[in-house]
């Protein structure tokens, strides 16, 4: 009986370091992912109905085309169009939408996937998309399935005012609603960085309530300013594009997926005299320097590439290496854990050099055991464990010298 208990304790003793090691590795790897930019999403919203708001749909479709061209796949773009101008009876070119009077580019050509259309575009649905609180029946294609590694571009256009944006001529999205949704997204680790771009009158006021870190916001006009349309297409009979979007598109037309233009160059491309309003960007919630962030981080799907010699095996270690500096920025991670992580990394390398071809899980159990032993502060239990450890030694020596 006594031997059985002893044996159990022995097994525990042996398993303990392994378990601790495993859990620590798991935790570290998840925190590493949160700080990495791994995917891109875009939510493009046109909030206004009616024929005379043709330009808002054209704005949104233009942005849709641009982000698609720069590499965000269709399944990662949530496109919300509040009205269907292409099929409006007043449209001289049925099933076509243009954003320029030269009519060279049909924005509503093939492969346009509209996720939310017509009266589906409501404040409720918009907030549901952002926060991910859908009913179970909503298909995956209509959900924003982003994670903590996502860069999200949120583009909105429509008619707005002081701290609100009109939806469908009947509802309003207030700046508080937007800020609340963004905060929920942050809490739920639904994004790493979020770029909110709004083309509406007094767009800057919509960002007033934002307080979540990692959010960058650009608006087409300051408080008290209107955002104007760029030009009228006398053939279609309405204005076809807004100024802010027009010049944004003009900026992106020069770029391709390999360009390194930074966000600051985008922001400085807005000229208040041609825009007839002052573009506003709020950057106090955003940590990175805008000069160092390529626009394709948001408008395309370009991430930093990590070179690996072999698949899978070396990847995790490389990530761990690189993550050190990023972790130092991250305040939420415990200092001790970080130190341990560094130790593990160091140990990793040593181990790598000395013994190759071993299992990753048991790379340096003894050093980890030593650390765990250090951490155990309860002296009594240490003494007990020590006594228990003495027991097999005693049995062994008795048997040896018998």
């Amino acid at each position: 009986m006594a031997t059985f208990i002893n044996f159990k304790a022995l097994v525990q003793l042996l398993l303990l370091p392994c378990l601790l090691l495993c859990s620590s590795i798991a935790y570290n790897s998840s925190s590493v992912k949160a700080t990495m930019h791994t995917n891109n999403w875009a939510v493009l919203v046109c909030t206004s109905r009616f024929w005379f708001n043709y330009r808002h749909m054209a704005n949104t479709l233009s942005l849709y085309r641009t982000v698609k061209r720069l590499g965000i796949p269709d399944e990662r773009i949530i496109l919300m169009l509040a009205d269907d101008m292409a099929c409006n009876t007043r449209n001289k070119y049925p099933a076509q939408v243009f954003n320029n009077e030269n009519h060279r580019l049909n924005l509503y050509g093939d492969n346009v996937e509209v996720d939310y259309r017509g009266y589906e575009v409501t404040v409720e649905n918009f907030l549901r998309v952002l926060t991910g609180r859908h009913e179970t029946a909503v298909p995956r294609s209509k959900r924003l399935l982003s994670d903590e590694g996502s860069h999200i571009l949120l583009y909105m256009t429509g008619h707005g005012g002081d701290e609100f944006l009109k939806f469908q001529d009947s509802e309003e999205l207030q700046s508080h609603d937007l800020a609340d949704a963004v905060k929920q997204m942050k809490e739920k680790h639904r994004f790493k960085e979020l770029l909110i771009m709004v083309d509406t009158c007094q767009a800057a006021t919509l960002f007033n309530q934002l307080q979540s870190p990692g959010v960058l916001a650009i608006g087409s006009s300051m408080k008290g300013e209107n955002s104007y349309s760029h030009h009228l297409d006398s053939d279609v009979g309405v204005s076809v594009v807004d100024r802010f979007t027009y010049y944004t598109l003009a900026f992106f037309e020069r770029l391709n997926i390999y360009d390194n233009a930074s966000l600051s160059s985008l922001f400085s491309s807005y000229n208040p005299s041609t825009l007839m309003s002052t573009a506003y960007y709020r950057r106090d919630l955003y940590q990175r320097r805008l000069e160092e962030v390529p626009v394709t981080n948001f408008f395309g799907s370009v991430m930093e590439t990590i070179h690996t010699d072999a698949a899978y095996k070396a990847l995790s270690r490389k990530i761990s290496d690189r993550s050190e500096s990023q972790i130092s920025l991250d305040q939420s991670i415990h200092r001790e854990e970080r130190r341990m992580l560094i130790n593990i990394n160091v140990c990793d390398e040593i181990h790598d050099v000395s013994t190759e071809g071993q299992e990753d899980d048991s790379k340096c159990p003894w050093s980890a055991f030593y650390r765990k032993m250090q951490k155990i502060e309860n002296v009594d239990s240490l003494v007990n464990y020590g006594l228990v450890a003495m027991l097999p030694f005693l049995v062994f020596s008795t048997w040896l010298f018998h």
Binding site: W51, F52, T89, Y93
Partner: protein
């Protein structure tokens, strides 16, 4: 965009119409047939609409009531039919809930080239619209048979459009009149796919309507478009409709746009001087602060004033200035566009008119088509000072309010004076030993004295109402010339006045005691009633109230017994007397009418019957101006004359 091919088609129709006009000019049925065939060829729905000529009869119970088809009398013969031709293009992708109406008045019996051209323009636009993809509203083209007047045809069609009939009256009518059966041949001959029907065809609610006319004989130096907008009771279409037409005509088609002006004002020297004063004032203001830009040149000022006066005049008349007025009765925005081509005789000009006029109409129709709602963003209450400028209700009401503001103040002061003076004179006469209760009695009598005056004023207004009703009796007399009708009216009015005075007003003579101040009380009550009347009228038809106030306010304020002025004998009282007499003459409604008419058209054309004719037209359009004259203006004038002739 309207292209040459559409213009060619329009030209073809113009030629056909003008040649058919030579062929058979008895019934005009031939031209209707041609127009209907052309409509069918475009793939539009064509139908004919028969209507009866309606005579103007004043009926007090039908005043202000909407015209309804139930009151058509049965004793019409086939000869008094008018035939409208209606073509409808259904919007290919539209929901069919709304429609835009294009009206071309056309008299098949004696049509000139101008009417044929207007049909040509409408047809070229129609042929374009039958091909375009952007229609969201149905297009209705009404060729209104204007043999009984343009307005009658349009209003008859609108009445039938708005009040669905469920009887089989129309088929009976068709059987009765063989002429119209000829049109049904079209059904057999027509190309496949197009629909001709004899039944009434409808599209959706009307968003807006355009009446198109071409005046052939004009002496313009450039192609001009004249806009007529006034409907009954001074109602105007939404200003945006005028703005759209003006913008497209001026900036797209390079046409000159004008609205009616009072030409006599253009040459008046006092207006020019006033304009120059304003111009110099504007310059001074600009030198003080360059941001102040209310400077206006003298010529601009004169033209603006002439246009404003004409706008005020036509609104005050309460008569529509064209067939568009019929639409306003159903709250549809409508204007009449009259194209005045540059004077020339060659054939090429026709195509040019067709092209430019057609493009203008196309632009306006497309603008209305693109709207989601009826016009509502702009003003309904305004006076035009030029095709692109206006005075809105917020501005012109200030002037009116300032004009009538003295009335209640003067009425109150007169009343206070009269009652206090009356009491004073009483207490002077009474001996100190007089008992207290008689004093109190006199005070109560004094404070209720105004009731006598109120009774008088009420009776005069009652008489005014009776005078307004007399024409109903006169209408029953057959074969009356306007002059005799007017004479009978005047005689009956005077008779009723005397009867009323002798029967009801005789108790007035009992109150001799307070005679000396009675006129002041009568004046006070008169002024109050005039104030109420003008205030009410300004809501119904501002222009009438404004012109009425210009006449009545000075008359009411100046009115003072002539005897008193004669007795006073000073220069001031003498000039006041002269003023009173002149105003008393001018403010008599028929006199004011003749004076205005003479000033506008020259005194040669003025005869007594003209007033009767004008009054008849007021009934026809249920103009509130008629009620205003009968119930406010005339009683006020009578009361003022009563005050002038008062025996003090």
């Amino acid at each position: 965009m309207l292209a040459n091919q559409h213009v060619l088609e329009g030209n073809r129709l113009v030629n056909d119409l003008t040649s058919s006009n030579l062929k058979s000019s008895e019934t005009g049925i031939e031209s209707q047939r041609i127009i209907a065939r052309y409509m069918l060829d475009l793939g539009a729905e064509a139908s004919i609409h028969k209507f009866h000529r309606q005579l103007n009869h004043f009926h007090p119970l039908h005043f202000f009531s909407s015209p309804d088809s139930g009151i058509i009398e049965e004793n019409y013969s086939c000869s008094s039919y008018g035939i409208n031709t209606v073509g409808i293009i259904r919007a290919p992708r539209g929901d069919g809930k709304e429609a835009i109406v294009l009206v071309t008045p056309y008299n098949a019996l004696k049509s000139g080239l101008g009417e044929a051209l207007s049909i040509g323009i409408a047809y070229s636009v129609f042929s374009l619209l039958s091909q375009v993809t952007w229609l969201a509203k149905d297009i209705i083209w009404l060729v209104a048979d204007s043999r009984y007047g343009e307005y009658a045809a349009v209003s008859a069609w609108l009445r039938d459009y708005q009040t669905p009939k469920f009887s089989s009256l129309s088929t009976l009518d068709a059987e009765m009149c063989p002429d119209i059966d000829n049109l049904y041949d079209l059904k057999v001959n027509s190309i496949t796919g197009s629909k001709f029907s004899s039944s009434f065809k409808r599209a959706g609610t009307m968003a807006a309507a355009l009446v198109l006319k071409v005046r052939n004989k004009s002496d313009q130096f450039e192609d001009t478009i004249s806009i007529y907008a006034e409907a009954s009771n001074g109602q105007m279409p939404n200003l945006d409709l005028i703005n759209v037409v003006n913008y497209l005509a001026v900036h797209r088609q390079g046409l000159h746009v004008k609205v009616e002006k009072l030409w006599s004002l253009l040459n008046s020297s006092w207006l020019k001087i006033l304009g120059e004063i304003f111009e110099s004032l504007g310059k001074v203001a600009k030198s003080l602060n360059p941001k102040w830009k209310f400077g206006i040149t003298a010529t601009e000022y004169v033209e603006g004033t002439a246009t404003l006066a004409s706008s005020l005049y036509y609104q005050a008349l309460g008569l529509p200035t064209g067939p568009h007025g019929a639409f306003r009765d159903y709250q549809i925005d409508a204007i009449t566009l009259e194209i005045l081509p540059k004077f020339s005789s060659d054939k090429v000009r026709h195509s040019d008119i067709l092209l430019r006029g057609g493009r203008l109409i196309e632009g306006v129709i497309r603008s209305v088509n693109n709207l989601l709602e009826k016009f509502h963003q702009s003003f309904f209450l305004y006076l035009l000072t030029s095709p692109s400028k206006f005075v809105s209700v917020g501005v012109y009401m200030i002037a009116f309010a300032l004009l009538i503001a003295p009335l209640p103040i003067v009425a109150a002061s007169l009343y206070v004076d009269a009652s206090s003076l009356g009491n004073c004179s009483k207490s002077d006469k009474s001996t100190p030993s007089a008992s207290l209760d008689t004093d109190e009695h006199s005070i109560t009598i004094g404070s209720w004295m105004w009731l006598n005056s109120a009774k008088l004023v009420f009776l005069v207004h009652l008489w005014g109402a009776i005078v307004s009703l007399i024409p109903y009796v006169i209408c029953q007399i057959p074969d009356c010339t306007p002059t005799t009708s007017f004479m009978i009216w005047v005689l009956l009015s005077m008779l009723s006045f005397l009867t009323l005075y002798s029967v009801l007003a005789s108790p007035l003579s009992c109150a001799k005691a307070s005679q000396e101040k009675e006129w002041a009380l009568v004046k006070s009550v008169t002024i109050s009633s005039v104030f109420i009347g003008l205030g009410l009228m300004s809501v119904i038809n501002f222009a009438t109230a404004e012109i009425g106030a210009l006449l009545m306010v000075p008359m009411c304020l100046l009115a003072r017994p002539l005897k008193l002025d004669v007795r006073a004998g000073t220069l001031r009282s003498f000039s006041r007397m002269i003023g009173n007499l002149v105003l008393g003459l001018i403010a008599f409604p028929p006199a004011a009418f003749f004076l205005l008419k003479g000033m506008l058209d020259g005194f040669g054309s003025v005869n007594v019957g003209a007033f009767w004719i004008w009054v008849e037209s007021l009934w026809a359009w249920n103009s509130a101006t008629y009620l205003f004259i009968g119930m406010v203006h005339l009683p006020c004038w009578v009361l003022c004359i009563h005050i002038l002739l008062h025996t003090c």
